[in-house]
Subunit: 299 residues, 2 copies
């Protein structure tokens, strides 16, 4: 499908893409660029890529597909470094979780003969780094494409096919809608998970062992989400701050309503809300985005 | 171990206990009492119990161990009905998630020759009803005992052995401490999960299908928790309202701090908090309360 693919940032997502490209035979050559020499050494040793180097221009040169898989706050630095090394006719994409700001930033820095098509494969685990990557990470997951004005239709189709071959189902969406939907389905859940674990730690310094011991009552599930990459999430929240603020306000308003219902013994109201929330679970299982099997101890 | 065990309320937890008693051979006879005739019929058909009837006095009569496994709001009704049918020397327990209020309520209604020892096995799934029960639900989970003044030491040891044989690790704690710790490790996480799913539904009525489609980004995990039994959780929150209110206030205060940091681009503060929350995950895995294997699609 490609002669050379360059992955900038071979972490959990980047290395999972490299592994999937290799398995599905989608490129003759796969290279990556990482700032740290030890990571470059490691991804070659693990045979995740054919070559890897901190010299970003050298790695990007001659690539048909370039995938930015670094934290959002590094995009400006990355694009300024690679803009003059991109091959005419190549496709540039990323895997970031927020779109509106970065699409314009990159668009204004590249020439017309580069197709800049932003991607967001909605997949991940709480692990980080190239060793944590998984060939099958994208199987049956959605990938949202948000093409820029500098993307041509043919290349959008090529990139769509690429993600499908990697295992994804592909949707196309504009950046504003993407950032709004993802604030609901991903960014707010992560912030809330971080907040609940942080609240727990703050009130419970002396009893940390009890909190750990009895975490199977519900907290456990939040700690998994709150173990995700701190740098990545810091950047996502800041880049999507408008949607985050609005959703946090909604969340707090609803939580205060629940608090009032609890304090007033308003069981009827609580039961109504909890019955409503139960329904959406069934739809998620039906849509294949989770399994219906209960999770009772994960052994 | 016992001649007759009576389980009042053969739902997810009650039927799991019955199944485990049967498998480990802990009682000659197992009976249950359910308000609905169809449930009584079902648990006999499924061979979960030997007998089951809505006549609570008849079921309780002659039992050595009586386990209340109904929602907390039904305890008063239950105890008033069974108080004169309890066999002298029998052990009375429950499986409720809040202790302080109910311990006194039951204590004042029973005679001195009954050992009232409240139990809380910290286990469950998002499913409800007798068909959802699992023999192995309690394996490696903690069970907290909060004995009342009417419990004698010998019976505490007997009940401890019972839970251990069913698979639990057992701790003894006073009611106040139990309700505080559990508000952190279980009750607040559930309330927050209900609240996030409810907030999602409210803001997103027109885009429900998108929310479902892209739920693998994090929301999915909350919907599992928010699919738990509405009646049970309604009662838990109301019974533990003092701790809930305090924790909700802490939670909102911390969430407002995060919002401010996001709005001020304070990446340093966010990163510090998210790095701290990552640590507790490792301790939970180390304590055997979850597995370290990443969860990436549950197929």
């Amino acid at each position: 499908m490609f002669k050379k693919v360059c992955i900038i940032g071979c972490g959990l997502i980047g290395s999972s893409i490299a592994r999937a490209i290799r398995k599905k035979n989608l490129s003759i050559k796969i290279v990556s660029c990482n700032r740290s020499d030890s990571t470059n050494k490691k991804v070659i040793e693990l045979k995740i890529v054919d070559d890897s180097n901190s010299d970003i221009k050298k790695m990007v040169e001659g690539s048909d597909l370039i995938i930015i898989a670094t934290p959002l706050s590094s995009y400006e630095d990355v694009i300024l470094k690679i803009k003059n090394s991109l091959k005419s006719g190549s496709i540039l994409t990323d895997v970031g979780s927020v779109k509106e700001n970065v699409i314009g930033l990159i668009e204004k820095n590249i020439s017309k003969d580069i197709s800049w098509i932003s991607s967001h494969p909605i997949a991940g685990t709480e692990e980080s780094g190239p060793e944590a990557g998984l060939t099958e990470l994208f199987e049956n997951r959605w990938c949202i494409l948000t093409p820029s004005k500098k993307a041509n239709d043919k290349d959008i189709q090529v990139l769509k096919t690429f993600w499908k071959k990697i295992g994804c189902k592909v949707d196309i969406m504009d950046a504003k809608q993407h950032d709004y939907i993802l604030s609901i389905t991903s960014h707010i859940p992560h912030l809330i998970a971080y907040n609940i674990v942080n609240t727990t730690l703050n009130v419970q310094d002396k009893k940390e062992s009890d909190v750990v011991k009895y975490s199977a009552g519900g907290l456990r599930d939040f700690t998994r989400i709150a173990a995700s990459n701190p740098i990545m999430w810091r950047d996502i929240f800041i880049q999507n701050k408008k949607n985050m603020s609005e959703m946090i306000d909604n969340f707090i308003k609803n939580l205060k309503d629940l608090k009032e219902a609890i304090e007033n013994d308003d069981g009827k109201k609580l039961e109504e809300i909890f019955t409503k929330t139960k329904k959406i679970r069934k739809e998620i299982v039906k849509a294949g985005q989770d399994v219906g099997k209960p999770d009772f101890g994960r052994k």
